[in-house]
């Protein structure tokens, strides 16, 4: 009757909305670039592989978006950002860079949503190979800086896939290791430990002296992942570089006694009070403060630690001290470091400013910008024509550990994202004081079983 007209009206509204979103959806589904669909090489007339500096761009006025999660107020980051703006202006005087910076992990949440809906920045800083594998990033194999990559750069995992280069690796970072306060160690007559037992002994001595042995900032979950991964590395990979593969194949299980061993180590450290009391509710900057103040003797962090520590000491007016480094180890004294790029810089495959985006990456790869960035982050160079000297002598200690044994893969390379998250969950649980049982590893096992299809094996 008459109500049927009203129902029709309602249906129309819903259909209208459905159609609109379907249009958007179709746009998305039709153009699905995949890594194997390679474009014709970027035939920009001004490019030639032997040149370092990009040729002049154009007077076009446009806004180009750059996404990042780590560009904050640290001095070398500020300089980095400014340097990019200045140098890009030389190329494109009328261009404007819009910095889409979301600090911390929410950046990745947002990035994934943006990529899913074709609204991601034109130039993207990222971590993890998944963005490459899923086809979000443009093939950059023909860019001028690719030829400048050194051996480490060419084999870097998160920027390469199926023989192609998809992003500029922002230097080779160690996965992480133990940084220690040399003064405290000297005062207590301690040497950097070489085995797990020595590590425990050193911590005990420091604790007896009334100083917190290790500062943790597990509120930033990535620090938990860093500690766990880097301690698992020597136990699992030092004697068996194929351990990860075996996990994937099912030859070895994720409740392997070696893995359990590492968590028992965590438990022991917690029981013996080797961690700061608020380990789980302070974040990385706060844990770095403890270290800088001298209230904690050791901290497990990445290669940016020496620079960050110096800055923290200067800003806080604390007493200066020399920083040392030793890698995490297993019972037998084996070490195995993780080496790979920390941040990677790629180009959004869906961007409309393709050439301008590629040029921005090229700008970042220039020695004047790349070099200082490496120094600030403590990363090793991945471009053959950029060599850096670090004024902190600790870097040679790091390099020594790296040259002893390092691998580009880690346990998470063979796990789905849910597995890596399960790893974090166990770590925070044990460090918070819960006794470890092998059942705690079940979520990791389940996630590998359930999401195995999403794992891309490193080559």
């Amino acid at each position: 009757m008459k109500s049927s007209k009203a129902w029709m009206g309602l249906m129309l509204i819903l259909c209208f909305g459905l159609v609109l979103s379907a249009c958007g959806g179709n746009k998305n589904n039709n153009a699905s670039p995949s890594p194997s669909a390679s474009e014709a090489p970027a035939a920009s007339p001004s490019e030639s592989a032997s040149e370092e500096a990009p040729k002049a761009g154009s007077d076009k006025a446009f806004t180009i978006r750059v996404g990042a999660w780590f560009i904050d107020d640290r001095s070398y980051q500020v300089a980095f950002k400014q340097g990019i703006e200045d140098k890009y202006k030389e190329l494109y005087p009328n261009a404007k860079i819009q910095w889409d910076i979301t600090l911390g992990l929410p950046y990745f949440d947002k990035l994934k949503a943006q990529l899913a809906s074709r609204s991601a920045p034109d130039v993207i800083f990222y971590q993890n190979q998944e963005y490459v594998v899923d086809g979000y990033l443009e093939d950059l194999s023909n860019e001028p800086w690719v030829a400048r990559l050194n051996e480490a750069g060419q084999t870097d995992l998160q920027t390469h896939f199926q023989g192609k280069t998809y992003a500029l690796p922002m230097g080779g970072s160690i996965g992480g290791g133990v940084w220690y306060n040399k003064k405290i160690f000297a005062d207590l007559g301690l040497q950097p430990p070489k085995t797990t037992q020595e590590f425990m002994d050193v911590a005990e001595a420091i604790k007896q002296a009334g100083i917190t042995p290790i500062a943790l900032g597990f509120k930033d979950a990535w620090t938990a992942q860093m500690f766990a991964t880097n301690w698992l590395q020597p136990y699992l990979f030092s004697e068996d570089p194929d351990f990860g593969l075996k996990i994937y194949n099912g030859e070895k299980k994720l409740d392997d006694p070696l893995i359990q061993e590492v968590f028992l180590n965590f438990q022991k450290m917690k029981e013996n009070d080797y961690f700061n009391k608020n380990a789980l509710s302070i974040d990385w900057p706060q844990s770095a403060q403890l270290f800088a103040k001298g209230e904690a003797a050791m901290i497990i962090q990445g290669p940016w630690m020496p620079g960050a520590n110096k800055e923290n000491i200067a800003n806080g007016g604390f007493e200066s001290f020399d920083i040392g480094f030793f890698p995490l180890m297993d019972d037998k004294g084996n070490t195995a470091m993780i080496i790979g790029s920390n941040e990677a810089l790629g180009v959004n495959a869906q961007t409309e400013l393709m050439q301008e985006a590629k040029d921005l990456v090229n700008v970042v790869a220039s020695p004047e910008l790349y070099g200082p960035y490496l120094v600030g982050g403590g990363a090793l160079t991945m471009l053959s024509d950029v060599s850096v000297t670090y004024d902190d002598p600790v870097v040679s200690e790091v390099q020594e550990a790296v040259s002893k044994k390092s691998l580009p893969v880690r346990l998470e390379s063979y796990l789905p994202t849910s597995g890596a998250n399960a790893l974090i969950d166990v770590t925070t649980k044990v460090v918070s004081g819960v006794k470890f049982t092998p059942a705690d590893l079940k979520p990791m096992i389940d996630s590998l079983e359930r999401d195995k299809a999403t794992v891309t094996l490193p080559e």
Partner: protein, 275 residues
């Protein structure tokens, strides 16, 4: 219930103690925002002077007024839009009893219980299709969509207290429906409008997930995500400015609350009588 007898002083003292306990965190917030760095981390030392550097730092490091402006735009825009469309709907749904209208009422009310977390990604895609991504206008529409169920309910409840004769006599006078509504009915629905604004403004103002995900441009960001981002920028070791910024972002609402709480209670009372 012995309404006229004043309760014993002891009971009143206990209630006051409870009230003070509830206020403690708010006082703490205020106090920390003016506490000198030297005694900042000692929980038992009270500041004996007004240390204003944190406020200065907050204003310098964060575009507070821009964030405030954005928050005002999104919040007020959402409220106004909701009021405009929901008042009309609530009115109609209270008056018309045909099946269609009953179903629509249920349809709208169901919005009160459906959680939106799973809809985030489809919402994202929709926003792209409509080219509304990274616009504050999108947030206005989303806020309105979220507010429509509650507002419609309130307006329909309050409409029931307006006698039908009013509309009938107006119709005799030749008044068109639209004019009838806006000139006569809507002013009478002011209590509903007031109740809705006062109870819903906080949710809109304090929302931080939606702006964080749907806005890219920092110049469009609202206050709450600004605070979260500010904290992430190494401010966790320097919490003074964070506290100052928090006070600033909460202040407008607290002021509003203090001035309107009498009406809010009145509105709720009326609402529960009619509803």
């Amino acid at each position: 219930m012995g309404q006229l007898r004043k309760p014993p002083l002891l009971v009143e003292a206990l209630m006051l103690l409870l009230a003070l306990l509830f206020l403690l965190p708010v006082c703490y917030l205020l106090m920390m925002s003016i506490k000198q760095p030297a005694i900042f981390y000692d929980p038992f030392k009270l500041p004996n002077q007004l240390y204003l550097e944190y406020y200065k730092a907050a204003f310098q490091d964060v575009a507070f007024f821009r964030g405030l402006g954005n928050t005002l735009y999104v919040t007020l825009g959402g409220l106004v839009l909701t009021i405009l469309v929901a008042s009309m709907s609530g009115f109609v749904l209270a008056r018309m009893n045909q099946r269609f209208f009953r179903y629509v009422f249920l349809f709208i009310l169901s919005g009160l219980i459906i959680p939106t977390v799973g809809s985030l990604i489809p919402m994202f895609k929709l926003a792209i299709a409509l080219e509304l991504i990274n616009t504050r206008t999108l947030l206005v529409f989303m806020a309105a969509a979220a507010g429509i169920p509650m507002a419609t309910f309130l307006y329909s409840a309050f409409t029931k207290s307006i006698p039908r004769e009013l509309e009938e006599s107006a119709a005799i006078d030749g008044c068109g429906r639209l004019r009838l509504f806006w000139m006569i009915i809507f002013p009478l629905l002011m209590p509903a409008t007031g109740t809705f604004v006062i109870t819903n403004i906080y949710a809109a103002w304090n929302d931080f997930v939606t702006p964080l995900i749907f806005l890219n441009d920092p110049s469009k960001m609202t206050l709450m995500p600004q605070i979260v981002q500010f904290m992430a920028n190494k401010q966790s070791i320097n919490l003074g400015p964070v506290f100052a910024l928090s006070v600033l972002s909460v202040l407008p609402l607290v002021v509003l609350f203090l001035f309107t709480q009498k009406y809010m209670l009145k509105g709720l009372v009326m609402g529960s009588v009619k509803g």
